[in-house]
Amino acid sequence: MSSLSIGGSQLDTSWFLLLSAVLFVLGAIGVLVRRNPLVILISIELMLNAANLTLVAFSRQLQNYEGQLFALMSMTVAAAEAVVGLAILVDIFRTRDVEDIDDLSELKG
């Protein structure tokens, strides 16, 4: 049911999905553990890409257009988000040198 016939061989959709899960989890680790804000942003991009892979895989499995088009939208949004996030980061970096995101903790209650 989940096998795909690609280029003459039989691949399985669940391999793609699994790979996507692994990449997602790697990105999550990056966001959680790394303290450099830039690296955190990069890890977020990694998570987004993993999601895109899932979308495209399903699109191929179900032979449907929706997955690919949504992946396109996702990429656009990711680009926009990266732009704004970096702009903010640059703005913060102007006033102070942030090496550790734990330094940015004034919004505490």
Partner: protein, 634 residues
């Protein structure tokens, strides 16, 4: 104009006047208040006259006030001879008194002046509502509003602490009566499932058309209801034991004392018994209680009146005593006799109060009779009118007081087969003698002899026309009013009885000759004591303990203070200190404290660290995934 509309107008004029004065009166020139204040009462009187001449009768419903399922309370007015009678008294005598107070209150500034007439108009409206109401709920509404008006008017000079205290006392005791009334209404409602007079009274007479319940003689529920209603009547009419407020109520301006505490409000209890006569005819124990309360109060109040030095206090206790007579009358079944005495008392007591007001006004608000003296020569018209009122009070022919009081005593004397009524007659007889005495003392002390050296004013001014004319009118009424019902003499017209007997139960027996003779004898003895009081000036304290007892009004105030006021005061203090503060305020404040603490502890989750937040995200995602998995597998 239809009777239905007229009846409503009778009610609407005073309240319209009150609203007008409350809204605009204090801003506009005084002449506005002078016209509107008494004017609306007279307009009401004219409408009442129209109803009287049209012999109007009917139960008019104007709209439905409450409608809840099968329970409906209409706003209905019951117009019959009894209510027209009361309305005539209220609007007629009330009109005279309100007109009088145009002059009496002249020293007030504009806002207070308008306020006074607003309150008077509210009172007239409330009293009219009370007597016109066709169902128990509006009776209670009128009852309570009358109590409110009394409070407002007694405490009119609110800058005086004694007036404020007196007003509060009157209001609290009236509320005790209100509670009795309300409970009585509840008892009746529970039995008859009705609140309109028509439906409730049908249950008394066991007529099957409209009643769903039928009371038999000596039914305990009915007795209970009648007693509870009697409590209301006792409180409103200042009978024993709820009487202590009336003397204190003299703190109010004299027209207020005349209107509320002589002519109308305190007679509401008598009206109540007369209106509820179907109930009292069946509830014999309560009916007897009415008479006993009345007789005992009459004697009791008369004895206290002997030692009073304030002219208004004498009149207040006299009022208490005379209302006792009315209660006695309606209590033995002589309803129209009691109502006739109500009418005549309204005449002469209002007369007495207003004439006293003339004196007080001239004496610059001095009310101590020992400081009067010799006013006969200086204020002749007032002295004459006061004398007319006094002789009426004693019950001397040809004044109206004789005819009404002797009719009551004659009815008690000649009630067939009833020894209890004879005892009550005896009490009434003694009271009449004492009445002669204290009335005489009052008159001789104030008006005869040499002017007291402590007189505040040497040349008292004659009263203004607007203050003299109502007094004169009342004097004329007291003089000739008796001749409409000369039943006390056994012959002649009985206009009042004829008028009322189709509404209230007619007196079932006639006065015999002995009664008439005894009546005349009472009059002679009373007049004699009146004359005798002249020679006892100055008052000599021969029985100091009796003097003290009477001066302290039989220590009723002290007893009530010890048994009721002090414990309740303590309870209230306790409640404020130990319940209101720690518990109620505490709960509210503690809620705030708890909320603060909770918020404080919750805000610790806002650590400010980005990575903490992301951890929580991922944790949430894990939880969501678990849920999805569980759902998918189940």
């Amino acid at each position: 104009m239809s009777n239905q509309a007229l009846a409503l107008l009778v009610l609407l004029f005073p309240i319209a006047g009150a609203l007008l004065l409350a809204g605009r009166g204090w801003r506009l020139p005084r002449v506005f208040t002078v016209i509107v204040g008494p004017g609306v009462v007279w307009a009401s009187f004219i409408c009442t006259l129209a109803l009287f001449f049209a012999s109007a009768a009917g139960d008019f419903t104007y709209w439905t006030w409450i409608k809840s399922g099968a329970f409906a309370v209409p706003f209905n007015l019951l117009i019959d001879n009894l209510s027209i009678f009361m309305c005539l008294v209220i609007t007629g005598v009330g009109g005279l008194i309100v007109t009088y107070s145009v002059g009496y209150m002249e020293h007030e500034d504009n806002p207070s002046y308008a306020r006074f007439f607003t309150y008077m108009d509210i009172f007239i409206f409330s009293m009219l509502l009370l007597v016109l109401a066709g169902n128990f709920l509006f009776l209670i509404v009128g009852w309570a509003l009358v109590g409110l008006s009394s409070y407002l008017l007694i405490g009119f000079w609110y800058q005086r602490p004694s007036a404020v205290v007196a007003a509060r006392k009157a209001f609290v005791m009236n509320v005790i009566g209100d509670v009795g009334m309300i409970l009585g209404t509840f008892v009746l409602f529970v039995s008859t499932r009705a609140v309109t007079y028509r439906k409730v009274f049908d249950a008394m007479s066991c007529s099957h058309a409209t009643s769903t319940y039928c009371f038999t003689f000596d039914s305990p529920t009915l007795e209970l209801a009648a007693f509870l209603l009697l409590v209301g009547a006792i409180a409103k009419s200042a009978q024993l034991p709820l009487h202590t407020w009336l003397p204190d109520a003299m703190e109010g301006p004299t027209p207020v004392s005349a209107l509320i505490h002589a002519a109308t409000m305190v007679t509401a209890g008598v009206y109540l018994v007369a209106r509820m006569h179907p109930i009292y005819d069946v509830a014999t124990y309560a009916h007897g209680a009415v008479a006993i309360v009345g007789a005992v109060t009459a004697l009791f109040a008369a004895t206290i009146a002997i030692v009073q030095v304030d002219v208004k206090r004498v009149l207040a206790y006299s009022t208490m005593s005379q209302i006792g007579y009315m209660f006695l009358a309606v209590g033995i079944g002589a309803y129209s006799a009691g109502m006739f005495h109500l009418l005549s008392h309204a005449f002469f007591k209002a007369l007495l109060f207003l004439a006293a007001g003339n004196v007080i006004h001239a004496m610059h608000d001095e009310q101590d009779m020992r400081k009067y003296g010799g006013l006969w020569n200086q204020m002749r018209p007032t002295s004459v009118t006061f004398l007319v009122g006094s002789l009426s009070l004693v019950g001397v022919i040809p004044f109206v007081g004789f005819f009404s009081k002797e009719q009551i005593l004659g009815a008690a004397f000649s009630r067939p087969g009833d020894n209890a009524a004879l005892i009550l007659w005896g009490i009434g007889f003694v009271t009449a003698l004492i009445t002669g005495f204290y009335t005489g003392r009052m008159w001789w002390l104030s008006f005869w002899g040499k002017p007291s050296p402590e007189r505040p004013v040497d040349q008292p001014h004659a009263p203004r026309l607007v203050m003299m004319v109502p007094v004169a009118i009342l004097a004329v009424l007291a003089l000739v009013g008796g001749f409409i019902q000369t039943r006390a003499l056994g012959v002649g017209p009985s206009v009042v009885s004829d008028f009322l007997d189709n509404v209230v139960t007619p007196q079932g027996w006639e006065e015999n000759g002995a009664a008439i003779g005894v009546g005349i004898a009472t009059m002679v003895l009373g007049a004699g004591l009146f004359w005798w009081a002249r020679s006892l000036r100055p008052w000599s304290a021969r029985f100091p303990w009796a003097q003290r007892l009477l001066e302290h009004k039989y220590y009723f105030d002290e007893i009530y203070d010890a048994f009721f006021v002090r414990p309740l005061d303590w309870l209230a203090g306790f409640a404020v200190r130990d319940i209101e503060g720690p518990v109620i305020d505490g709960v509210v404040v503690e809620t705030g404290v708890v909320a603060r603490a909770g918020a404080g502890s919750l805000s610790l989750t806002q650590s400010g660290y980005f990575r903490n937040y992301v951890l929580v995200f991922v944790g949430g995602a894990v939880v969501a995934a678990v849920i999805l998995l569980v759902r998918a597998s189940s």
